[in-house]
């Protein structure tokens, strides 16, 4: 979960990382109660980066200009996103700008401190000079100093910058972050440092133990453990095929086979694996039902390939779930296109065709159950894919 700049800076302030005096602006008139002296900078609070290039950051010298600038930033879409809040911040005279980050490296399975003497807007510059320090054992301040030395800092800047890195690291650990980044860390003529922009990503799996952080983002989650996603991803806008599988890799392998056979995939849905500690056999059947409903709501879906590799749930139970889904009176369906405006409700449209491939126990019973439904049942995956492609071609032809 990503935080907005002002939320990241609130955390910086809490742990003693220097940030500028700042105020949240929820509507342009809030600027009349500004407590920071002018000149100030107004910054659009959006999740997308590079807002500066498109006018999302403005320097202003008085209230009249500030209100005008706020109006225009509130109405400025940044890659489709409008800010709900702006950040009004004091100005800072920097002489140097550094890049600092703490990130978890999945390959070496340790947190890594990153630092570059060339921070700022031009990310490539930062990357070219990026220094890495792996925190291989319990953290201690010397890891942060090691980064500053590798960055080529000397004198008082060693202690000033390593103090910031150390606080970033503590935040990273205490709040279960995937990333904490300061770019740029401004250095003024007196050698004082200031976090001018910041980015924080909280690990999704850990959000449950950080309720205060979880409450910061009210948007629907792209992926939440233990339940189906709120919305479907579109792969090919011309596609007519959807796949429903259990398990991420099985989903990907099935998608690959569809694509390798020339099929155009509109949606995929992974209904999850059995490694949740509170998983129960009912979980799978419930999700098959919900998943089929989700996929068939988009009338562009003509064929659904169900590929389920069973663990403990007998195939006949899954077949029963599918049969019940097919027997239900057709519900109002929704055509979900690329744009909101295209949303329309169409009633009584037919259900998509189902190609079902189940691997598990109780296959004979499963086939019997599905024999009386329009679903096509196949034993092996390659045949199921071939059948799917035939069906789609028949539909197109």
């Amino acid at each position: 979960m990503d935080l907005l700049e002002y939320q990241a800076k609130d955390l910086f302030r809490e742990v003693g990382i220097p940030v500028l005096p700042a105020q949240r602006i929820e509507r342009p008139t809030d600027l009349k109660a500004l407590k920071i002296p002018y000149p100030i900078v107004l910054k659009s609070q959006v999740y997308i980066g590079e807002r500066g290039r498109v006018g999302g950051i403005r320097f202003v010298n008085n209230t009249i200009d500030a209100i005008a600038a706020a109006h225009s930033i509130f109405n400025l879409s940044i890659v489709g996103e409008y800010p709900k809040v702006l950040l009004a911040e004091a100005k800072y005279d920097t002489q140097q700008e550094f890049y600092l980050a703490v990130v978890l490296n999945r390959s070496i399975r340790r947190p890594v401190l990153l630092g570059s003497k060339k921070g700022g807007i031009d990310v490539q510059n930062a990357i070219d000079e990026m220094q890495h320090v792996v925190v291989d054992q319990d953290f201690s301040s010397f890891y942060a100093r090691r980064l500053t030395i590798k960055m080529g800092l000397s004198g008082d800047l060693i202690n000033a910058v390593s103090d910031v890195v150390e606080r970033m690291y503590r935040l990273f650990i205490d709040k279960d972050l995937d990333l904490v980044e300061i770019n740029p860390l401004g250095v003024n003529a007196a050698g004082e440092v200031m976090a001018l922009d910041g980015k924080i990503s909280v690990n999704d799996a850990a959000l449950g133990r950080h309720p205060a952080l979880a409450a910061l983002d009210s948007r629907p989650r792209k992926f939440v453990l233990d339940r189906l996603p709120d919305s479907l991803t579109t792969i090919d806008t011309d596609g007519q095929i959807a796949v429903l599988c259990n398990g991420a890799a099985l989903t990907m392998a099935t998608m690959d086979l569809v694509s390798q056979s020339g099929g155009k995939l509109l949606h995929y849905l992974n209904i999850g694996s059995e490694t949740h500690h509170d998983w129960q056999p009912d979980t799978l059947c419930d999700r098959v039902d919900q998943g089929l409903k989700m996929l068939s709501q988009n009338k562009q879906v003509k064929v659904i390939l169900v590929n389920l590799v069973g663990g403990t749930v007998p195939s006949d139970r899954i077949a029963t779930t599918i049969a019940r889904f097919l027997q239900r009176p057709p519900a109002p369906t929704l055509a979900i296109g690329a744009h909101k405006e295209n949303l329309r409700i169409s009633r009584g449209s037919a259900l998509p065709k189902l190609v079902v491939r189940l691997l598990g126990t109780g296959m004979d019973e499963a086939k019997e159950i599905l024999a009386v439904t329009p679903a096509l049942v196949l034993d092996d995956l390659d045949s199921a894919i071939a059948q799917l492609i035939t069906l789609v071609k028949r539909h197109e032809g």
């Binding site: 990130v103 099985l250 694509s259 500690h277």
Partner: protein
């Protein structure tokens, strides 16, 4: 072999829903489960297995154990694993998904210091077909044999095991290192174990997009593995920067940490091919390639 039918096994989180479903299945398959642990629920029985509040109570009553299978809730899993290490258990199978990555970093440091083997998390565990099950692999897809199967996923592993079994190619051992971003053991560790295992003739590695596990494995195979390896990679058609369902399977380049192309299926497949490893295009091709290899004499001398 590290996992033998003589191994004594304990189950932590035995009264969690997943533990209640799978512990009897493991026991039926022949795994010697001597006790279970569920804090605050000691004194109960599950399928005749006594449940204790703490590991040390279980061990003082039932004797030492070699392996623990952990079904504990994700935020309790680190503690369960540390408790196991503290009583001398050196093989830990973590089934649960959703363990925060920094908990795994902590555990891995401890495992390295104590020479403890960790399988998982977010893993179906280990199966030695016909002998023992440590986790949630569906046993009916597996047959005893000489193929060592290593992956980092669940149901696709079962799919591949089934394809091998159908083709008459049984398995010596099958393990999934798990689907999360930070994992207790690595492909090289398991490739080494399978390379040294006398029951294993051919190794099948089932990979997927995200991270650089497969790239590292390809390099390691070229350097250190003598037995033939067949690879398969899922996710050629997966959209970029989309999580496919578990934390491990995402191609990203956060904070300049990975190169822009590292983690894609193309990167992984070409790494295997550069290392001289046969790559199957689809799961059903895996048994074909294994059979082809078994017919040709070994490429590398021991």
């Amino acid at each position: 072999m590290i996992f033998t039918p003589a191994s004594k096994v304990i189950v932590q989180g035995i009264l969690e829903p997943l533990g209640e479903v799978y512990t009897p299945l493991m026991q039926n398959y022949g795994t010697q489960i001597v006790a279970g642990v569920s804090p605050g629920q000691g004194g109960q029985l599950l399928a005749g297995i006594p449940v204790f509040d703490m590991l040390e109570q279980a061990i003082s009553k039932m004797g030492a154990v070699d392996t623990t299978v952990i079904f504990s809730p994700p935020y309790a899993a680190l503690d369960a694993a540390l408790e196991a290490i503290s009583v001398g258990i050196r093989q830990i199978v973590l089934i649960s998904q959703g363990i925060p990555p920094l908990d795994m970093v902590h555990l891995i440091r401890k495992a390295e210091a104590t020479d403890t083997l960790i399988v998982g998390p977010n893993s179906p565990g280990v199966i030695v077909p016909g002998q023992m099950l440590l986790g949630i692999h569906p046993p009916n897809f597996y047959r005893p044999g000489s193929i060592g199967l290593v992956s980092r996923n669940g149901t696709l592993t079962y799919e591949v095991a089934w394809a091998l079994s159908q083709a008459g190619l049984g398995q010596s051992i099958a393990v999934s290192i798990g689907g999360d971003t930070i994992l207790g053991s690595t492909f090289p560790q398991w490739l080494q174990i399978l390379d040294e295992d006398p029951q294993t003739d051919v190794i099948v590695l089932v990979g997927e997009i995200g991270g650089d596990c497969e790239e590292v494995a390809a390099h390691y195979i070229a350097e250190a593995i003598d037995k033939p390896v067949i690879a398969y990679v899922a996710g050629r058609s997966a959209p970029r920067n989309r999580r496919m369902g578990h934390a491990g399977a995402i191609i990203d380049s956060q904070a300049a940490d990975l190169g822009p192309d590292l983690g894609t299926a193309e990167s992984k497949i070409s790494a295997f091919k550069r290392a001289g490893i046969l790559v199957a295009d689809r799961p059903s091709e895996i048994p074909e390639l294994v059979k082809r290899i078994l017919k040709t004499p070994a490429k590398k001398a021991m």
